[in-house]
């Protein structure tokens, strides 16, 4: 019994039990399960790539990437530019990604270079670099020379809108692609397939020679060094891939959400992603695709199911409160484990 608990991990067990409890309550309150499952699938698909971005970061040894906002802002820029040129549908989506990826790669490269000079402090510094980037971009959103009426305030205020609707451009392009219904559950096929594609690329990379070098550099820098691996270079690579995935991740997230959220919205974007992969069983030094899938599924299900249940039981923004407690609780748990072991 003990070994089973150890295998599953205490945090996962608690969260899974809590989730099951919530689902039972939901059934008791006659909340339709089909809509819950639909929501869970969508939220899984829209968040999973942001969580996936943690994998190259952890594997290359920079630890959990608290600087996800860096990639996110470039994803947003990509989407904004594609809207500015009135692109829509799949084409708009693809162009957004094509613009965002090189920008994010360049930013990730310099960020990775910087991280090489502050080994051991990546998480603390990364968090505040992320905050700084978001607040600097707030100024950028105010002065950016976008002209499309979709983007700027209708009554002629300054700068970009706080939320930009994607209804006329790329909203739900992935969600609706090949989507079908099983009973009342709508399957967002395109969204899930796109995640599968990204996950597959990350997985195949981690099995390739290059990816293995990166993984080894991350799991034991001294071992890597003695095998002739340029550890610093591998760390930069990991950072670049992570940042690029963050950029793609936010575009996917936004098309599913239907809006681009600018200004302070990306400020805490890293926390749920970090929390999700930790819930999935990753540690500060080890992360796999399966952790992304389990973690995102558990975490997002918890939030989706909690919302209607709690709204029936009480009022206020309880879902947000639960998210805060669960996500920061799990990060705290990981940080205080000796040697950063598995959470």
């Amino acid at each position: 019994m003990n070994s089973l608990i150890e295998k599953i991990g205490v945090p996962r067990l608690i969260i899974a039990l809590f989730l099951i409890g919530l689902i039972l309550v939901a059934v008791y309150l006659k909340i339709p399960l089909s809509s819950l499952i639909t929501d869970i699938l969508v939220r899984f698909g829209m968040n999973a790539i942001l969580v996936l971005a943690m994998i190259p970061a952890v594997q290359s040894g920079i630890g959990l990437n608290f600087n996800l906002p860096l990639g996110i802002v470039f994803g947003l820029i990509g989407a904004l530019i594609s809207i500015e040129f009135k692109l829509s549908g799949f084409f708009g989506f693809i162009v957004s990604i094509l613009i965002a990826v090189p920008l994010a790669a360049i930013a990730g490269y310099f960020y990775g270079k910087m991280l090489n000079r502050i080994k051991g402090q990546e998480m603390t510094v990364g968090t505040y670099i992320g905050f700084s980037v978001v607040s600097l971009m707030c100024i950028f959103w105010l002065v950016a020379p976008f002209k499309s009426p979709e983007l700027i305030w209708a009554y002629g205020g300054n700068g970009l809108r706080v939320t930009v609707s994607l209804e006329s451009s790329m909203a739900h392009v992935l969600n609706n692609f090949w989507s079908f219904k099983i009973g009342n559950v709508k399957i967002p096929t395109g969204l899930l397939l796109f995640f599968a594609l990204c996950a597959f690329i990350v997985w195949i990379y981690s099995k390739s020679k290059k990816g293995l070098s990166m993984k080894v550099a991350g799991s034991n820098a001294n071992f890597a060094l003695s095998n002739g691996i340029d550890v610093d270079k591998e760390r930069v690579w990991g950072t670049v891939i992570s940042t690029v995935l963050a950029a793609i991740g936010i575009i996917v997230y936004s098309q599913a959400f239907g809006f681009l959220q600018l200004y302070n919205a990306p400020l805490y974007a890293a926390m749920p992603a970090v929390a999700a992969i930790l819930i999935g069983g990753a540690s500060l030094h080890r992360a796999k695709i399966i952790h992304v899938i389990i973690g995102t599924l558990l975490f997002q299900s918890l939030l989706v199911v909690a919302l209607p249940v709690i709204n029936v039981l009480s009022e206020g923004s309880m879902s947000e409160v639960i998210r805060t407690i669960v996500s920061n609780g799990i990060i705290l748990y990981a940080l205080t484990r000796p040697g950063g072991d598995t959470a």
């Binding site: 502050i118 402090q121 600097l136 639960i322």
Partner: protein, 352 residues
Amino acid sequence: MIVPIIFLILCVAGFFFTGLPATFLMNEMVIRLARNLILVLSLIIPVITGMGLNFGIVLGAMAGQIGLIVITNYHIGGGLGLFLSFIISTPIAILFGFLVGKVLNKAKGKEMITSMILGFFANGVYQLIFLVLAGTLIPFRNKNLLLSSGIGLKNTVDLAGIRYSLDKLIPFHKINLGFFQWLSRYPIATLILTLLLYLLVNYFLKTKLGQDMRAVGQDMHIAEVSGINVDKTRIMAIIISTVLAAWGQIIFLQNIGTLNTYGSHEQVGLFAVASLLVGGATVDKASWKEALIGTFLFHLLFIISPLAGQNLMNNAQIGEYFRVFVAYGVIGVALLLHAWEKEKARLSIDDS
């Protein structure tokens, strides 16, 4: 010294674009110093103990707010109310500080990110308590505090009862002399209390416990071998910091006059830490001087930047975003430089 100079230049340059009279600015600054200095002070001791910038003072601020909520619930105002809120918040802050210290002892070397996440986490728990348990499990006498449903605390709590109760504790305005009338415009009692607390912290650093903290801050291993109880000393440092933060938050809010139940404490850590760093402090070095200079410069920038933004770019929002960026940026850069120094020290360890 370079950081404060840059900010001074920034402030002076910004000042010319605001078109504000200097006297107005100075009056405003006195008030802002009075309400922020103790919060910044609360950061100094953990820095000296080698635990970095204690973002966990958010928990201290919460303790202060709990004290204020309790006295408001019982309709106790004035000096007595203020005094009671100090009395109530202190043991809560000691408990919080103890818990934070315990957690940070489990995350040696990662104190800053841990204290920050701990702050977010505590914020979640705090919201849970005051949104769900208030009015249900925790009975409230003052129904005005609760939301219309009777469950959960309102977003804002009016602190009119204790507003200025410390700032105007000494009744200068009753003395009909020009000088005293002039004095009565300033929060003299608060400034005196601030001065006393600064002296107290300074005294404290010269005691045996203060010396232990400095030793622990410089080298935990040597301190341990010399027989100093490292873990206990670190917990003491965090407790003191948390208690000071609780008092600081009460003083801050008695000046503001309203408590934003779910928001007032959130930015406390951010602004206090940024202030200290603007003053030229680093992750492992801070004193009252940096706290004073930093608070002054940071809040000067706070007043100036929206106005300067308005006059320069015809957009006040730029200034507002700019000051937030400054807060985050200055922390980011300070952490970056610190980590950089550490890495350099690690690499050059065998050069001697």
